[in-house]
């Protein structure tokens, strides 16, 4: 079991927009790899390279200390590539606050202990406002209390119960527990008729 995560606090980088897909988070050409090690630099690569005169938030010096990403609705939709949350972690982030997450992205993030916390649109807007006013503002994500706090502002955050528990007690990597249940697994397998069918 890994160490639990009960809170994440730090500076934030705002990445505006809804439906930010995994092809944008890590373009497909960076999937040509057999380890995740070098993915930090691939994070939002095409958006960053094509951002023109205004730097992409990830290249904006004001947010260089950020450890939390704040974004809109349905973050991480699209492909199942775990390369996406891996790149987020390897670029130095420990949490994402968004209005909602695509399911596979949230599951992949949980597996590696990256916190995905949902907030209402109004909270997301308030966070954007406060970050714009003070890019160095410290935001605190409290998983035990399900609250986000930023310099006097406080609002609820949502995580699926199982994800919250898994993060808090460090069981987000379930492999040890899955391995321990081999007898129960064998019983389920034994009852499935199709495993005994022979093919032609």
């Amino acid at each position: 079991m890994s160490a639990g995560v009960s809170q994440v606090s730090g500076a934030c980088v705002p990445i505006p927009g809804d439906d930010i897909d995994t092809d944008r988070i890590v373009p497909a050409r960076f999937l040509r790899c057999v380890t995740f090690d070098a993915l930090g630099d691939a994070l939002f690569r095409d958006d960053r390279d094509r951002s023109g005169d205004t730097p992409h938030p990830l290249d904006d010096a004001r947010y260089s200390e950020a450890t939390i990403i704040v974004s809109g609705r349905n973050f991480g939709c699209g492909s199942s590539r775990e390369h996406a949350p891996q790149a987020v972690v390897r670029a130095g982030f420990r949490a994402i606050i968004a209005e909602s997450f695509a399911e596979i992205f949230a599951a992949n993030s949980l597996a590696i202990g990256l916190v995905c916390a949902e907030v209402d649109a109004s909270t997301r807007e308030e966070l954007f406002r406060r970050i714009a006013a003070d890019p160095a503002i410290r935001v605190e994500l409290d998983l035990a209390a399900c609250r986000v706090r930023a310099d006097g502002f406080e609002a609820p955050v949502r995580l699926p119960d199982a994800a919250r528990i898994a993060l808090l007690d460090g069981s987000f990597d379930p492999l040890t527990e899955l391995l321990a249940n081999h007898d129960a697994v064998a019983r389920v397998a034994h009852a499935l008729p199709y495993l005994a069918w022979t093919s032609r």
């Binding site: 927009g17 809804d18 439906d19 897909d21 092809d23 944008r24 373009p27 497909a28 050409r29 999937l31 040509r32 790899c33 057999v34 995740f36 095409d46 958006d47 390279d49 349905n74 939709c77 699209g78 492909s79 199942s80 590539r81 775990e82 949350p85 891996q86 909602s100 695509a102 399911e103 596979i104 599951a107 992949n108 597996a111 590696i112 199982a162 994800a163 528990i165 898994a166 007690d169 069981s171 987000f172 990597d173 379930p174 492999l175 527990e177 899955l178 391995l179 249940n181 129960a184 697994v185 389920v188 009852a191 499935l192 008729p193 199709y194 495993l195 069918w197 022979t198 093919s199 032609r200």
Partner: protein, 464 residues
């Protein structure tokens, strides 16, 4: 027991509840490919854990393979490294690998069904979001990330929470020139790209009953584009007829028992659903995407939205370089791509071939056909389809994912516009950051290739 297919199949595969409240679910079939597996195999090696059920695990290579020259070593060093890693990992674990030499290589979601590996009532996983394709057979099939690929390799199980079930009831008969792809895009534009988050989609109703298996696969394939991780159809006579005689399908001695069990897992008539949506598809026209997510779509006789009606719309119009409010009909295209796990099967190639027979690809257009698998390729050649495409000016390539995501050399260049039978029109999806994708059915892609622009294949019976 009365319930939905989802509830029944989930219950049969549920091992127990984990400490954090998630279910431990047994996986009946695990499909593996080169992109999302190397790190999972490495993690097992690190912890000295063996693959639990190599007999329930099957691998293929699809995403990175070139579609022209496949001599080893592959010219792209990184692609070669990934293929070599897959070969070494599967050989060491005793996992069958359908590579080129087996003549069964192809896109993972094409070969599972055609080999009869995909069966009703299974839980099926793959490190790929389009795994829902297999749901066409009445399986619970879903995409997973690499950490979960590791978990399944190590234990044949994974930690997951159940989904709610939304039945999407489809009525009416599709018009000539309108296909399952159009239905899929219509569902997504109706319910939105995140409308399905938290749901499994059960596709049912007369329009689904009338579909053949390949059409059902197209429909289920795109569930994830509407946010639903799982999409499925109930197994029926069409399903059983498709499976009979497939290499890994049950043998004659087990067949009757298999069919009886498959029938038993279908949703019961009195099953209750968490949500229900009814759509009549009888008036549906071909659907074309105009934007940068699959819900940004219009019927081919409609116009794209006007500028200033939303930030997401403006961003999409700007990327696509489209004038707001313009008809989608007549939009010029530079590239035509027929292939992918959505529409790279024999019936897709047949529908496209019907449109182009005796015609010639527009001089501006680069047109390629990439069969979904070696078996699709062989079956198409047997019917002379390769000759039809070649005569029209299409390039006929070797099977793989190809330009669906541009991980191999097949990519858009600059801001080319591609009429594509694939499933994603995200920015940069087809290999060029400024490339532009218009999703549509294979017949519509074929018609666009001939006309050099978006045309309505249903109205004209093809371009003239």
């Amino acid at each position: 027991m009365s319930g939905t297919l989802f509830e029944k199949v989930w219950a049969l595969h549920r091992v127990g509840t984990l400490a954090d409240g998630r279910d431990q679910l047994f996986v009946g079939l695990h499909l593996v490919h080169e992109v999302t597996s190397p790190q999972a195999f490495a993690a097992l090696r690190e912890r000295d854990i063996a693959v639990a059920r190599p007999d329930r695990t099957f691998a293929t290579v699809d995403h990175i393979v070139p579609t022209t020259d496949r001599h080893r070593p592959l010219r792209d060093d990184l692609a070669e490294e990934m293929l070599a890693a897959l070969q070494a990992n599967t050989a060491a674990a005793g996992i069958p690998l359908f590579d080129e030499q087996t003549h069964r290589q192809g896109i993972v979601h094409v070969i599972g069904p055609e080999l009869g590996l995909t069966l009703p009532g299974m839980v099926i996983c793959c490190g790929d979001s389009h795994t829902a394709t297999h749901g066409a057979f009445g399986a619970i099939a879903f995409g997973i990330g690499t950490s979960q690929v590791r978990d399944v390799l190590a234990t044949q199980t994974l930690a997951i929470e159940p989904l709610r079930v939304r039945r999407i009831w489809l009525e009416g008969e599709l018009r000539e020139g309108v296909f399952a792809k159009d239905v899929a895009l219509h569902v997504i534009r109706t319910l939105g790209v995140h409308g399905g988050v938290g749901f499994a989609y059960e596709f049912a109703g007369p329009a689904v009953d009338a579909m053949d298996m390949e059409a059902r696969m197209t429909l289920c394939n795109m569930s994830i584009e509407g946010g639903a991780r799982v999409g499925y159809c109930n197994p029926d006579e069409t399903t059983f007829a498709y499976l009979a005689g497939r290499p890994y399908a049950p043998s004659a001695g087990d067949w009757d028992a298999a069919v009886a069990w498959w029938r038993s897992v279908a949703s019961d008539a009195d099953a209750t659903f968490d949500d229900e949506v009814r759509l009549d598809v009888s008036a549906l026209a071909p659907v074309v995407t105009w934007g940068i997510n699959p819900a940004q779509a219009v019927a081919v006789d409609e116009s794209v939205p006007t500028k200033g009606t939303g930030a997401a719309i403006d961003e999409a119009l700007a990327h696509m370089q489209l004038a707001g409010g313009a008809p989608i009909l007549g939009t010029p295209v530079d590239v035509a791509f027929i292939g992918s796990c959505t529409n790279g099967r024999l019936s897709d190639l047949e529908a496209a071939a019907e449109v182009i027979r005796g015609r010639t690809v527009h001089p501006r257009v680069t047109a390629i056909v990439v069969p979904g698998s070696q078996q699709v390729d062989a079956a198409a050649r047997e019917k002379g389809l390769d000759a039809v495409f070649r005569a029209a000016g299409f390039d006929w390539r070797l099977p793989g994912c190809s330009m669906c995501l541009g991980m191999n050399p097949d990519r858009l260049v600059g801001d080319q516009v591609c009429a594509s039978s694939s499933n994603r029109n995200f920015k940069g999806r087809q290999g060029s950051p400024s490339g532009r994708t218009l999703l549509m059915s294979p017949a519509m892609v074929a018609a666009a290739a001939i006309a050099g622009a978006v045309v309505d294949v249903s109205a004209t019976g093809g371009p003239t």
